[in-house]
Symmetry: none
Amino acid sequence: MARPLSPGKRNTLLAVATKVFANKGLSASTASITGEAGFAEGTLFVYFKGKDDLINTLYAEIKLGLANAMLSDLPKSNSVELQTKHIWNNYVEWGVKNPDQLALLHKIKVWEGLRPEVRDGTAARFAELHELTEHAIKSGVFNDIPHDFFAAMLTAQAETTMQFMRKDAANSDMFRDKGFEIFWNGITRKK
Amino acid sequence: MARPLSPGKRNTLLAVATKVFANKGLSASTASITGEAGFAEGTLFVYFKGKDDLINTLYAEIKLGLANAMLSDLPKSNSVELQTKHIWNNYVEWGVKNPDQLALLHKIKVWEGLRPEVRDGTAARFAELHELTEHAIKSGVFNDIPHDFFAAMLTAQAETTMQFMRKDAANSDMFRDKGFEIFWNGITRKK
Amino acid sequence: MARPLSPGKRNTLLAVATKVFANKGLSASTASITGEAGFAEGTLFVYFKGKDDLINTLYAEIKLGLANAMLSDLPKSNSVELQTKHIWNNYVEWGVKNPDQLALLHKIKVWEGLRPEVRDGTAARFAELHELTEHAIKSGVFNDIPHDFFAAMLTAQAETTMQFMRKDAANSDMFRDKGFEIFWNGITRKK
Amino acid sequence: MARPLSPGKRNTLLAVATKVFANKGLSASTASITGEAGFAEGTLFVYFKGKDDLINTLYAEIKLGLANAMLSDLPKSNSVELQTKHIWNNYVEWGVKNPDQLALLHKIKVWEGLRPEVRDGTAARFAELHELTEHAIKSGVFNDIPHDFFAAMLTAQAETTMQFMRKDAANSDMFRDKGFEIFWNGITRKK
DNA sequence: CATGAATGAGAGTTCATTCAT
DNA sequence: AATGAATGAACTCTCATTCAT
């Protein structure tokens, strides 16, 4: 299948689907998405093989967007702490700015139809982060734990932090910094 | 009084529903639950007002079970660290032993039909934990953060830890203890 | 089947069923009737073979009650006009006083489950009326029409009259008398 | 524009529904209608929002058809009696030719789901009839009764007449004329 | 490519009825 | 006799998907 002619329509569908699924749940009908987008019901199936394909695509694209956001403008030559904090800040700010995408990510994560290869798909994009971490663990800055455990802890704590930043916007910065402090203190090796 | 409502049947339905929903998602049919339980389709509606009611009940019961597990045998007179570690261990061990319940809890948490009063329902049962935390924050042992942020961080890190304990059973204890160490170092105040 | 032990319960069921069916339609559940009556669901089936039997019984009893009401205190020795007016008044007053029964009668009349022998069942009770009419037709007071056409016309006009008496209670007597006048002028032979 | 909605299909559905509902009652299943029509079950819901909507539409369309039939070819310049007789004949002949529609009208009239605005919907179409009656009442030809009472009496007597015309087709004309005679004698003012 | 009518399997739920208590 | 839990067929309606236009 050649690439569909209108990337604009495809993007509109992805954007509207994100909004609809985030707010109504994954059981929202495909018709509600095309309707809100102003397209005919059948058009969705021109751009995606089916609803499952749409949701899997959504997951992949959102995760990729998140990965890019996390690693944007990463200072190459700084200390591990500053680099980690940079990533942390990128991450939580993305989450605060993209609540629908974040909410949807969580819904899809526990969805029965997420394909395994999609679930583990963006690993490549995180290679940079992987190296950084690996280095920090080996050099003794970080606690001696498997890399994926480190990454999962970062994710878990950052996403918890985002929730509170969004819920209590006035103290957004406080949560962002306290959250990082807790993460950093937890993860670094004690003498 | 005719045949009395059977708590056994109710429990069977809850148990089977937990298994089915955890594995197939919340979109699993009510018929698949009664079928697996060996009951007629209508029987589910004798014990629960509808599918929504069943799922909300499931959430409340699982959360209550978790709360009870977490706080069981809590040593009253020990140090904050030992008490916290006790809770941590109870929590992650419950999660490892009850993977279906844990998986289901996450599915329901992002489900569109969870009633707010059910979502916030077991707060009372956690009062004990609340006091413990509040005390530790005030006394300066813990970082100066809102109590609910503390609780959310505990949850996030413990659940991440459980995943790794389950995935890599051979190193289960290592993850349990490393996880706690990271949590504890993060949350306690540095001089 | 011996007569059930409690005529009181049977009557309560009939009365409650009349009310419920009149207000919610014949699709009201048997449970809603036993519930409103304060009985168990199964009790209805002790007194009636099934829902169909209940509704057929209801029809027969209401029609019998109506027949008795129509013919009560009928002056034997009066003019045909006074006798007819007496019947007319009895009829419409019964209808105004028993709106649920009247409404239900109409619902059952167009119901798919009414058994033919029940539909035509109270003919016997109307024998008296039959004779009166037959006599009046033969003697030339009434128009020369089949007796059942006469009876149907009486019914149709009286029931229309009742509707207006109920809707406009202040003019209840006017409608009763105008209605009769129209009926009487219509049915009697012109010179 | 893809396949356009087919008025033919809509009409087929209405016609089949009329037949099925008239014969089996309003509790006949939607599947029995689409089945008899040779369509898929879901097709009914493309043309009507639901069963309720179908039945309400049926009522409106049948009533409109009846109104048009009643007033067709009404001679403008004739006597009140000839005009009234014309309407009467149109009415009862429609009823005799459309027994399903007539039976259904009565079922829907006592159905719990008939929407008030639909029940009172065709009033406009009857304006012509309203004027005629109003004029005749004021000019002293008709008895001094409210217009709606007049209309209800006409309906009641005409429909009773139709029943006998249908039941005894050989004497159809006799019933039609006798019926009118009774109606006319009843409704006109006596000196 | 875009459309949206048509499809029909499958869903949750209701309910008259049965029968063990 | 009275009860009400248990039943499972039947219902209306939804919806992802197809395909004629």
